[in-house]
Symmetry: C2
Subunit: 436 residues, 2 copies
């Protein structure tokens, strides 16, 4: 049987694998992680509202019933398009996978606009690891503020800057405000968490640039109504351990989050070099109408790695994945190819806070409670697995009713003890042992 | 107002703080972590059944309504009983806390019987960090086995050894077997997860030594019925990166878990040195009937740090905490002290697997489905927070019906990429970005 290798278990790659479940091929899905992260809800993991597993089921579990698919935990290092081989790094050393069809859906990572030295001070939010790191920083900042002796330092620690006013940035800014005003309201005695400051910055002249101006200005109003400081039109000039400089102005901040640029996976550059295909400024590779590499019809590039002229959003990746599965199936069954790919834009939405959201579906624009409920419903629908859907619903209900954000365990927040010695993961607890 | 300092937010410490909620004192709870870990369910976090937040609510949240209590995230480094001061390390440097009453409930950590060099190869299970490390090892072992080229190495990776056949060891062994036989059943194609081996070892002649012989032998039968290899009467002689030696025999293993000895917090030794109080072999400190240090009635030592002659289990710690709060309250209100402390043993229980458990309540001994349901009910009752109780119930139902263990996100399992360069938390994902 022909072997289809899919690199990347994101929205595009997973849809290709699922779409091939009845095809006369065997499929190998290669991913560096063991899970499919639902990126649109990562910010809720970062802000303690959800646990990682609720939005990131194991790829093996998602595909457990698909007999013709197997999962390989590995990093794709290099593609040899002439030999039709992918060289991967596994937990047990390097391996080579031969393919008949290759789907490269390795996605994108953050780009600090050429300033990679900013990365440690302004981490992004693309993976579960990113979300957990951000969670540690956010709740760690409040803990740090609690013991800060210097009022100016406390003020700095309670300042959160979100760079990038797209959906992720807007949603994150909203959650940060809700954390300080609602979730932590009664939890600190030495300061009022509501005094914390959330600043949302973007070089563009408006928030949610991908939305139309009406919704964009409604979102701005909602953000400002919540007490978020929105600074538009000024580019980030510097990020360091103590804050950011934006449009010539310095903002001292304890936590900076990067929700701005993305850069396609380096596999794109490697493929371009090997095949002469063109790369755009974001590192995306130019592909044909059927997502194939020019001159290599058996290699398809999807999702964020492809310069498709479409926005880098989940629905685009999913539809590309579904179409590509059909296309590979047609090749294998020697049938006519599917109708040319056409993206069906079902609309866009972004949530800002409690009963605050904006959405447009075709020409219909909505905002406020209705848009917020639509957002909840659509996102709940896309959570993978029945149990996870119930769990997310319980979490959201608890957050709505009691402002609860239960996933707030801080790991290794204090400097390592000098006397904990040999204990491998630092033993931070003071707990007593087992119930009999 | 008099100042009560409580070191440790475990079962004992938290009960002291809660018990003082109506007392004319102010209370400071010092803990190295920001949460109260419900240790009896840690093994379910380690095996992917529960998320950390579900069993470890933030201490600040638990105490949010208690006006006379505040929480300090800090590590207690040293106690000066003469000056009545605790020296702590915070996120913002060292601080000194003056106290009028001090409660030391810093608990215990693992002890490798004087072989601390075993710790990295056989981590324990006392904290959320421990549980997450163990989770990484367990599910990482299956991923590693999936790519192992050498059959002997695969067999080793699929061998799990649990050292210590107390409740934690027995419960963990049961879960490990259920993971391989049920949860992962259809998830691997290159080997059968059910071929994995779980070995439970203890130097004692029987499992669950704290239970009576009937229940102990029923538990043994249940374990063996599940396919767990139980090896009793042989001491662990060596643990290294590739396995353990028990009773003269070598077991090659990919994962070894330490559920055996405990050692009281080093604060005990420090207090003993300063006051001349006696320490027992486990590092526990000898206290009076009212848990006070000889000669220092204002200093109480509770829970696992106290040589009380009672077992190191949660109910003991909780009852000691409640009694101590009453005792401090009586001192402050200049009332008669409470009746002398008496431990009320309501029974013990341990679960082994689906509908397999043992329990005794006074002279009543039960096992099987009834004991298992009692175990579920009691543990659910003790989960802190209504939302968490609902979440745990949903998780358990999903596990029972569909063998699901949803919290299986593996972090940073592959060696760091050479090209990921500046990206701070290693960016492992291949995901595509944001839904519009």
């Amino acid at each position: 049987m022909q072997h289809v290798v899919v690199i990347g278990g994101g929205f595009a790659g997973l849809r290709v694998v699922r779409g091939l479940r009845r095809s006369p091929v065997r499929v190998t899905l290669v991913d560096r992680t063991n899970h499919h992260a639902f990126q649109p809800l990562l910010y809720q993991v970062a802000t303690g509202g959800l646990s990682p597993g609720e939005i990131a089921p194991p790829l093996r579990w998602v595909l457990r019933k698909q007999k013709n698919a197997s999962v390989l935990l590995a990093k794709a290092d290099r593609i040899d398009v002439e030999a039709r081989e992918v060289h991967v790094r596994t937990l047990d050393g390097d391996r080579t996978l031969r393919y008949d069809h290759l789907v490269v859906a390795a996605g994108a990572r953050h780009s600090w606009f050429g300033n990679d030295e900013w990365a440690p001070f302004a981490p992004g939010l693309k993976t579960i690891d990113d979300a957990l790191e951000l969670r540690r920083r956010i709740f760690g900042a409040f803990e740090h503020a609690d013991v800060a002796a210097d009022p100016a330092e406390r003020k700095r620690l309670l300042t959160f800057v979100v760079v990038g006013a797209g959906p992720t940035g807007v949603e994150l800014a909203g959650q940060l405000k809700e954390i300080s005003v609602q979730t932590l309201r009664s939890e600190y005695h030495r300061f009022d968490p509501a005094d914390s400051k959330v600043v949302l910055v973007d070089a563009a002249p408006r928030v949610l640039g991908a939305f139309d101006e009406t919704l964009s200005s409604r979102a701005l109003k909602a953000l400002e109504g919540m007490g978020i400081e929105v600074r538009l039109g000024g580019a980030v000039e510097k990020v360091d351990a103590r804050g950011v400089t934006v449009g010539g102005e310095r903002i001292e901040a304890g936590t900076v989050v990067w929700a701005a640029g993305v850069q396609a996976s380096p596999l794109g550059a490697q493929l371009a070099e090997a095949t002469g295909a063109e790369l755009d400024r974001g590192g995306r590779i130019t592909v044909g109408d059927d997502f194939s590499l020019p001159g290599y019809p058996e290699v398809r590039v999807l999702g964020d790695l492809a310069a498709s002229g479409l926005p880098g959003v989940a629905p685009v990746a999913m539809q590309q994945g579904q179409w590509t599965a059909k296309s590979i199936d047609a090749v294998e069954r020697r049938r006519a190819p599917p109708k040319p790919f056409k993206y069906h834009d079902h609309g866009s939405m972004a949530t800002i806070g409690r009963r605050r959201a904006v959405a447009h579906f075709g020409r219909i624009k909505i905002s406020g409670t209705l848009a917020w409920m639509a957002w909840l419903l659509v996102h709940l629908m896309y959570v993978v697995g029945f149990a996870n859907r119930v769990l997310v619903l319980v979490r959201w209900a608890a957050a709505y009713v009691a402002h609860g954000r239960g996933e707030r365990v801080l790991s290794r927040v204090l400097p390592r003890s000098d006397r904990s010695g040999a204990t491998p993961p630092a033993d931070h607890g003071h707990e007593v042992p087992h119930v009999g």
